[in-house]
Every structure is written in structure tokens, then in C-alpha cells.
Symmetry: C2
Subunit: 172 residues, 2 copies
């Protein structure tokens, strides 16, 4: 009784999509898809002695220029020591600019330099290309469902952060 679980919507009785088998399929899909999802930028990064962590930092600094180290920490969910190493190399290499906070001089506000912006764009575009194809293949309705499930999967606190990101300035 595994595959006939093609769910048809409506019909209150239709909880077939919650069988252990269906859940396991979702788990495996997450594993395989995430691997592909990170593969494209990883190739670019490998060439320049950077890793995924650098990409993530660039992404969120680009997303919200001027954010502090602590804010970035909260979004990334790592320790500040871990982030610091990554940040240090990015700053040394001239991809990120760290300026002393204006309100509070203990803080460091982070900005991408022109070079940083260029790399971020290159990395993200590689990732976007795959996402674009997947979106196009699956169609708008599937995309909506995709986002709904992912959002429901996040920890509540993370979900708030994610939703808050929605409203950030869209410059670029």
C-alpha cells in the first residue's frame, strides 16, 4: 500500500499524505535536493579558498547592508567565533567592509564592497539558475506549496526572522 497515495485534495478523509512512507519520501527529497542546491555555488567557492559559510555571510550582508555582527549571527545560527573567522577572511580580502557602529561603537556594521557584491551576485546567480529551472518545471502552484511546507518546517523563531526578511529594502 505504498504508491496509491496520490492525494487528490478535498475529501476530509484524505490523510494518506501523512503516511510514514510519504513522510520518508519528503525526508529523502530534502536530502537530495539540498545537496544539489548547494552544489553550484560550492564549485565557484572551491576555486577561491572559500566555503559555504562565506557564501551565506555574503548573502545576508547583501540582503541587509549595515547589519551588525550580532544580527548576522542570529540569522546564521552559528557562534560568533565561527562567524568571525569567515568574516575576517572576507574583510582581509576586501569583499566586506566592517565599519564601527554609529550608534554604538562596540558594534561593527557590515557592508559589501564592489568586489563583494560581484562575488555574491555570481554565487547567487548560479544558485538561482537551478532554482529558476525547478520553479519553471514545477509551475506556480507547486512553488507556492513548496514555500508553504518549508516555512512550516522552520523553528518558530527562525520563521519570524524569515518573514521579517520579506520587508527589507530591495535595492541591489
Amino acid at each position: 500500500m505504498q504508491d496509491k497515495a496520490r492525494v487528490q485534495t478535498m475529501m476530509g478523509e484524505d490523510l494518506l499524505f501523512l503516511t510514514d512512507d510519504q513522510l520518508r519520501r519528503g525526508i529523502e527529497a530534502m536530502f537530495f535536493a539540498y545537496r544539489a542546491f548547494t552544489a553550484d555555488p560550492d564549485i565557484i567557492l572551491a576555486d577561491m579558498d572559500y566555503g559555504r559559510a562565506h557564501h551565506r555571510a555574503l548573502h545576508f550582508i547583501n540582503r541587509d547592508p549595515g547589519l551588525t555582527v550580532t544580527s548576522l549571527l542570529a540569522v546564521l545560527g552559528v557562534t560568533k567565533q565561527s562567524l568571525n573567522r569567515v568574516l575576517r577572511t572576507l574583510i582581509e580580502d576586501g569583499l566586506v567592509d566592517s565599519r564601527i557602529g554609529r550608534r554604538d561603537r562596540r558594534e561593527r556594521q557590515l557592508y559589501l564592497t564592489a568586489a563583494g557584491t560581484a562575488l555574491e551576485r555570481r554565487l547567487t546567480e548560479a544558485q538561482r539558475a537551478r532554482m529558476r529551472l525547478a520553479y519553471r518545471t514545477a509551475g506556480p502552484q507547486a512553488v507556492a506549496g513548496f514555500r508553504q511546507v518549508l516555512e512550516a518546517m522552520m523553528d518558530p523563531e527562525t520563521r519570524s526572522q524569515y518573514q521579517a526578511l520579506k520587508d527589507l529594502p530591495e535595492d541591489r
Copy 2:
């Protein structure tokens, strides 16, 4: 420059879901959701000196008992040296049984022991609980879309492996 990618194409109109902004939202959702996705089993694993790699091995051995080291390698997409370290500890700890291949005595066929099955179940159940909640929250139609997009995101070769898994014996 960021084409605000409103409509373009002749028929256009419904390509709004392919804007760079929409794609970026998807990228961020993947990042946050995947972190949550791995968090629950990670807590259990941390207590016993195991890591994510052990979980993955247990999962796929449980999925297809008797598979060879080479097959497992192909599914996991890691090097044999990397897998070997993980597998060695699992075998030493009595969670996995490695038997000499029946067709080909060079091969090792992998099985979970009772203890291995128990741990696999515990780990997977933690992960399933989150997935179940997400599925239930989002609903069947969203789940279908979720799976469609993830599948479209995989590398073609991986997708074949993923689809092939569909037909494996369903014990449990």
C-alpha cells in the same frame, strides 16, 4: 541589473513567480528549513558521539537492507574513505552488520542489527515528527508542490536514484 521582471514574454503575466526576488525567497527558505530539518536528529546523535553522516548511513541501509558499500557510496555521494570511517564505527558498535556478498565475495552487504534498527527509528521518528507537522499545516496540495519542486531541483542522476527508491521493498 535586477530586472524587476514583471511581465515579459508574449503571454507573460504569470511569470511573477520567477522574479529574482521570488527565487531568493526560495533560496532562503531552503536554507532555514534545512537547518530545522536536521536539528532534531542532531540532538540525539550528539549524545552518542555520532553525526549526521551516521544517520544518513543508517537511513539508507534500513531503506534497502543488503545493499553494498558501493551502492551506499553512490547514494550518499561521498568518498569511500569518508563513508568508511562512519561505517567502521557503526559496525564496531554493533549497529550495522557487514556480511560478505553472496553473488560476489568481494562485496560487503550491509544490514542493520536490532540495535541499529532501533536507533534508526528513533532518529527518523524525530525527523518525521517535524515533517508531519509541516505537512499537516501546509496541506496535501502544498505537499505535492513541495515534492515537485524538490525533485526538479535535483541533479538528473540523483533524481533517477530518488525515483528508483520508490519501488524498494516496504518492510517496517
